[in-house]
């Protein structure tokens, strides 16, 4: 099992991998209690969703899907979360890059501000948005003068989603950008790349797995958004009633429909999260195939470039 005897003929990467696997195996043995501690939390995360699935029959789900609230809510959720995710990525990526590249207290303060909406209860976010963009809000007078109304519109739905979901993407993207070796960017610049070129052709591809995980988290948070939407945007089918709101409203009329709607939402989300999780690996495989001749060298540098 010694890496030296088997790995010597096969180059550095295989040896490094075996050594790492051996280390991991030792670490695993050292924590024999690990499953005992980890299983309850895993159970708590998964069992309630399983119970949800067990509580619904296919007939219940068929009935829920035929509910007049279902299709408008699903379409509205899809439309608004895609829009909010796009806006989060477009505006959040430069901010994350700045946070990752800027030392000092000011950037750390901005980082804390970015985190704030995660801590603040969503209902409070909703009230805060009303007090900013509502009729009597900070910008209420200006918006009224321009003839713009934000509360009770689909725009308000997207804004609520932006506020609650952007922090997840920005934090993940900043962490991913921090793992990009600054030397690589300097090399790219010396090879004639503009700052934008270095960013898009070196930093973004290297950070991509982290960016995708962040986007997935952020999207999932936007999809589940409830409290801020209810307060800031209200609840009207086709206008502002997203899936979580439709589920809550169904609870008032028929619990079975609510449960089945929740299952549909959970199912769709699971599928999309799986795809997003698989995407970086697929990307890496495509990348490796494209760069086949230099594959060995890249693998050799793997451990240093890998996430810490």
């Amino acid at each position: 099992m010694s890496p030296g005897t088997r790995g010597s003929g096969r180059g550095g990467s295989a040896r490094a991998r075996e050594a790492r696997e051996a280390r991991e195996a030792r670490a695993g043995r050292a924590h024999g209690l690990l499953p005992l501690v980890a299983t309850p939390i895993l159970g708590l995360l998964v069992v309630p969703l399983l119970a949800l699935a067990l509580a619904s029959s296919p007939a219940d789900i068929a009935e829920a899907v035929r509910d007049p609230l279902f299709v408008p809510a699903l379409l509205l959720s899809a439309r608004t979360t895609l829009l909010s995710l796009t806006l989060v990525v477009i505006t959040g990526t430069p901010l994350a890059w700045w946070l990752a590249r800027t030392p000092g207290r000011r950037a750390r303060l901005v980082e804390v501000l970015v985190d704030l909406p995660i801590v603040v209860p969503p209902a409070v976010v909703g009230i805060a948005l009303l007090q900013t963009f509502g009729r009597r809000g900070l910008f209420g007078g200006w918006l009224e003068a321009l003839g713009l109304q934000i509360p009770f519109t689909t725009t308000a739905v997207v804004m609520a989603q932006l506020v609650v979901s952007a922090p997840f993407y920005i934090q993940a993207a900043a962490a991913a950008f921090r793992r990009v070796e600054p030397d690589l960017l300097i090399v790219a610049r010396t090879l004639g790349q503009s700052p934008a070129g270095a960013f898009f052709r070196v930093a973004v591809p290297l950070a991509l797995p982290g960016l995708i995980v962040g986007a997935a988290l952020s999207w999932a948070r936007a999809l589940g958004e409830f409290g801020a939407t209810l307060l800031f945007a209200g609840n009207l089918s086709g206008e502002t009633q997203t899936m979580p709101l439709a589920i809550y409203m169904a609870l008032e009329s028929d619990v079975r429909v609510a449960v089945a709607l929740a299952l549909v939402l959970a199912g769709v989300s699971l599928l999309l999260l799986l795809v997003l999780r698989a995407a970086p690996a697929m990307w890496a495989r495509l990348d490796a195939a494209a760069l086949a001749p230099t594959g060995a060298e890249r693998a050799g540098t793997g451990p240093t470039g890998e996430s810490r």
Binding site: F152, Y248, M249, E252
Partner: protein, 261 residues
């Protein structure tokens, strides 16, 4: 295999139950308990009655849980330890009576609807007929009692006020709120021009103005109370119901805007 696992599970569950029970008995003092589940709109009135009940019977510890009637009904159906259920809607209590979970229902109060507007009244609503001028109207969802009653009132207004009234008003509906307090909040914040809520909710806020709804249009919402049937239920449930139906109970309810016979 499955049978064994199930049997084992049940045994552990029972053991845990016995231990928990023993633990509870050892810890608590000798006070009896009474658990009252009540609709949110009863918060203030039942809060007063709780203090009065405990003063009269110091040996009983009363806890009152307030939530939407629908939520309370689901909890009681799922076996929540309630001794008394007070519902803002006959349907929820009657469903539990039919299921054998509640002994019988007594009507103890009723509530009616009013229109509320922000203090600055941006849409200039002075009467029920002015409701068509509300550019942003908020109601309860059609599934919560307050939303259903409001729609009933609007439907009656088609003949009582003028034809097409309901459609004209609903054309300006911007949000259907899951409970009456959220509908009121939208008006308190000045975001909605008007909402239709219970008289009791209007009475509980000084940030809104209320406009009466004519009797020929208005809806009486009956509140029902009943004792919950469950093993180990409190023997004081009937005493609580008697208090609510007594002159003192009626006075407390009327102080908070309810109508009692």
């Amino acid at each position: 295999m499955r049978g064994i696992a199930k049997g084992l599970g049940t045994r552990w569950f029972r053991l845990a139950g016995v231990l928990l029970f023993a633990g509870c008995q050892g810890d608590t003092d000798e006070r009896a308990t009474l658990s009252v589940y009540a609709a949110s709109s009863l918060t203030e009135a039942f809060g007063e009655l709780e203090a009065s009940f405990e003063r009269a019977r110091p040996e009983v510890d009363v806890t009152v849980t307030f939530a939407g009637s629908q939520v309370l009904r689901i909890q009681i159906e799922e076996g929540a330890p309630a001794d008394v259920f007070a519902s803002a809607n006959p349907e929820h209590l009657e469903a539990l009576v039919d299921a054998g979970r509640v002994r019988e229902g007594h009507v103890f109060a009723s509530n009616e609807l009013v229109v509320i507007v922000p203090l600055d009244n941006p849409a200039g609503i002075e009467s029920f007929a002015d409701l068509v001028g509300a550019r942003r109207l908020v109601l309860g969802t059609p599934d919560v009692p307050v939303g259903r009653y409001a729609r009933e009132a609007l439907a009656r207004a088609d003949s009582a006020v003028r034809a097409g009234f309901q459609a004209a008003v609903l054309a300006n509906l911007v949000s259907e709120e899951p409970n009456v307090r959220l509908a009121r909040a939208k008006v308190e914040l000045g975001e909605a021009d008007a909402a239709i809520v219970y008289l009791t909710d209007a009475a509980g806020s000084d940030r809104i103005r209320s406009i009466p709804i004519p009797d020929e249009v208005n809806v009486q919402a009956a509140y029902l109370i009943g004792a919950v049937e469950r093993p180990g239920r409190s023997e004081h449930a009937d005493a609580w119901i008697e208090l609510v139906l007594s002159a003192e109970g009626r006075a407390a309810l009327e102080r908070h805007g309810f109508v009692t016979e």
